[in-house]
Symmetry: C2
Subunit: 545 residues, 2 copies
């Protein structure tokens, strides 16, 4: 009995504790909101300014919407127009609010969906009316109810079809809306088809104004947007890969910040590429409605989507390269420096090719036949030569211990591993492994003995895994090998990108490349052979093997 009461008390304590925590949380929230309110006017002005500065077309679009609404309101406000059209003028206002979108393609897509949905629903409702006309009052109500149920079910279900969802989702909603409005109204209002007819006119006027505004007054084209975004993605990747390699070989040690701040030029370069799938597809869908390129039968917007997907895959390679910069085990800078020149040259050749592709798309011309220049091959070969000239590089670090290196200290910069790390250069490898072994054993014992509470386990685990990775005596060059291999991989991926861009140029009939179009300035000359060879000599080649 007492235990029950105690349990109940416990529960109440627990609940009151929860409520107190909740109140606490709310208090904090209120404080934060209060602080925000003080800064509110300033930050709001900043946002307003920033949004407009980022893309001035937004301001224009806002003005366009305001103007269209005012124009369409005139139908209602001006006496002669109102006399002609009447109360239904309000439907024109509704149409403008709902249909007018930022780009011409989106407006057309929505407008046509709306038109098609309304027409279909009107026809179907007419058929229904025809069937139900002769029947009695009660039967008619049942018939309408059943029709509403069935059409509601069918059109909701149809919205899950991938093809419908992608292209006609809005149209189906409008179909359902209109069908219900007409069918249900027809039960009590008898001139419903007359009303539908009148409304159709005003909706057509609304659509007309939208088309006028979207196609003729400062039009924004989805196609152009897609085009520009593709160009900027190519340029972003070019920047990213260059910055990545430069940072890898830079001399000063950067603290590896875990949070990818937007300031990081590498992250900024590929960020837009990675999550571009849905925006690409939407833009391509809207672009396919735009009348601009109808003379080409069908402008290949889907090719842009394909190119985007290839670029995303290129982007994943760049992310993996970026990962090499942030990983736990690092090849010492001294070793990296040996391969600095060929790697930087290779990266700059890849990004040059990407920039050439970007400029070819921007100017809608086919890409230069000298795109994959001999410089690229030269850089690949130099990297190859450099790698081969260092056969001993991939040996375990212990085999060339004769030279004093700051290697392990670098790799194990982790504070709580410092003791372990400073031990290592003195002791042999077996010792180091043993020391790790005992470490784990100790941890295991500690765990089984103490029934580690989760809070403790949390602080423990990351360290544990870091020990596991950094304490391993992987061949120092392994991470560099990964870096080099990914760099070569990026060249292979570049090929796929070039193929897609060429395909795009072919389908979209870009103008032919003319050598006079631009003088390609070769900025990255191959440095003199001596300097590379000189660098390479620095590595101790006397192995203990």
């Amino acid at each position: 009995m007492f235990s029950w009461i105690a349990l109940g008390m416990d529960k109440m304590n627990f609940m009151s504790g929860e409520i107190a925590a909740c109140l606490d949380h709310m208090k904090k929230h209120v404080k934060i909101v209060g602080a925000k309110m003080k800064k509110w006017p300033g930050s709001t002005w900043e946002t307003i300014w920033e949004v407009g500065r980022e893309d001035p077309r937004r301001v224009i679009h806002g003005l366009k919407v305001g103007l269209s609404l005012t124009l369409v309101s005139l139908l209602y406000l001006m006496e002669p127009l109102f006399n002609g059209i009447g109360q239904n003028a309000i439907w024109a206002v509704m149409t403008v609010v709902v249909v007018l979108e930022f780009t011409a393609g989106a407006t057309l897509c929505k407008g046509l969906n709306r038109g098609l949905g309304t027409l279909l629903a009107g026809s179907l409702a007419f058929v229904m009316e025809y069937i139900a006309e002769e029947s009695g009052h009660v039967f008619r109500a049942i018939f309408i109810g059943a029709a509403v149920f069935f059409i509601g079910f069918a059109s909701t279900y149809i919205r899950f079809f991938p093809h419908i969802k992608k292209n006609y989702d809005y149209g189906v909603v409008i179909f359902l809306l209109t069908f219900n409005l007409i069918t249900v109204s027809s039960y009590r209002v008898h001139n419903v088809l007359k009303i539908a007819h009148d409304r159709f006119y005003t909706i057509a006027i609304g659509c007309g104004i939208c088309l006028l505004m979207t196609l003729l007054v400062f039009p924004n084209w989805s196609g152009v947007e897609l085009h520009h975004s593709t160009v900027s993605k190519l340029e972003g990747l070019a920047k990213s890969i260059e910055a990545c390699v430069n940072e890898y070989f830079s001399d000063e040690e950067k603290e590896t910040s875990e949070d990818k701040s937007s300031e990081d030029p590498i992250y900024k370069g590929y960020k837009a590429v990675l999550d571009s799938k849905s925006s690409d597809e939407t833009l391509a869908l809207h672009a396919s409605w735009e009348p601009r390129h109808w003379r080409h039968c069908r402008f290949p917007w889907q090719q842009y989507v394909k190119l985007g997907s290839t670029l995303r895959h290129f982007g994943y390679t760049v992310v993996a390269l970026h990962g090499c910069l942030q990983t736990e085990i690092q090849t010492p800078r001294r070793v990296r420096a040996l391969f600095k020149d060929p790697c930087i040259r290779l990266a700059s050749e890849v990004s040059k090719a990407l920039r050439e592709l970007a400029s070819s798309i921007r100017n809608r011309r086919q890409c230069s036949p000298e795109l994959l220049s001999d410089h690229l091959h030269q850089a690949l070969q130099d990297l190859n030569t450099a790698l081969k000239s260092q056969p001993r590089l991939f040996l375990s670090p212990k085999t060339h211990q004769s030279t004093p290196t700051p290697t392990n200290a670098n790799a194990n910069a982790n504070a709580n591993l410092l003791a372990l790390a400073t031990q290592k250069p003195e002791k042999g490898m077996g010792v180091s492994l043993t020391s790790f072994k005992t470490d784990t054993l100790a941890l295991m014992e500690w765990k089984s003995n103490k029934r580690a509470s989760c809070e403790q386990a949390k602080t423990l685990r990351p360290t544990l895994s870091k020990i596991a990775i950094t304490s391993l005596e992987f061949s120092e060059a392994l991470p560099f090998a990964a870096f080099a291999s990914l760099l070569v991989e990026s060249v292979a991926r570049l090929d796929l990108v070039i193929e897609e861009v060429e395909e795009l140029g072919r389908i979209a009939s870009f103008k032919e490349y003319e050598a006079e179009d631009e003088q390609v300035v070769v900025t990255c000359e191959r440095p003199k052979g001596e300097s590379v060879a000189g660098d390479l000599k620095n590595l101790p080649t006397e192995g203990a093997d």
Copy 2:
């Protein structure tokens, strides 16, 4: 003069050619459509069946929408209800069509947005009416026109603010719609506030039915969907990384198909992860409106989004691993086999950890403290040992030519390189490089002499780049080093994933882990030391260096 005519004729020829191409294209299109129409009934039934089978909740949702619409139509169809509510009942129908969405969160989000937008617009319109009431007819029209313009501009512009766009986009549209309807109507209809008042009731009824249906009848929760999708993403990654490593070390040669068919288990595993950003964010947004977890003050849906982003970054590493399978230069299978056991074990440990994380989230319990098992460390160490036991591996392939290998033939399976490839094993490396050199030189001459037309350049370039990559005598082990390094990298990324999952468990107060919850069956035992050592002996260690 003649030249002008000739030019004109040329242009006409060009245009007629274009038109002919267009017609051709259309004919093809018609044929394809015809063929499709024949298969239409069968494939449609298939799609209908498939969509329902994939997720039976879709059928239920369809039935719910049908039922709600019928219920709301009764307001209009049944005499007593209609007498109470009148013509405005039609607005309830509209509300249901527009507001009722698949998940409870989405419905609530839309419903509240709609409600808020309508209320705000109504209040603002009331203020406007109050100001304009006393003025003359003409001034009033001008005032209304100006208000419509200004509010139209401001609310369109405000939709570009990231915060508004994310949370209240629909609400702003409804605000604009309602404001215009009321303000413009008020010019001619004088009891407009009475109408608005009546409509508000029917809209409330519509919203009520939507809430009832969405919250009480077979509810679908966005939160649960997000939860499940996170679990399945973790499991997909686990499958993917395992399949990837298994395929890398499998004995039979698979043809590397460039198109990532959906059948590929590796691609299938990580596909859902890569493009999950927008769906994750939408689900989290909708989930935050759901009342299910209100007792937690604020359930940490944003933590799911953060975890999703970490998973995406893990996914990029898996993509890079997958890239190692498809790359041009491949480490020969004979060499790979040496590291088969530790790599496969490492991968299976990583995927075991991912599966444990998935199951911990699925069961809403904190994850096992033995998550990063010693098996993982053991596998890491074994890989380390295996790598170190092969110091000569990273030498150029020419240095251990004594054993006959099918290596280069494999790597250069490219048909047009066969001649080059078969030459290579016989000749020394210098020769091979020279042969490549002359190849490029020949190409360069050919290019400069012949002014390569772009069509020719297209067929030429990919080959050129493939020659460049495959003909390089990179150390054979370089690609394997990348593979191993990425595998180790995935362990490091796993750490970040674990951190996020633990953070999620902490914030969402998952129940504590109990050892009895499930008996972890250790399936991947460490193979006996002898077999590894035996394998390692197979590599020829007599170098020519």
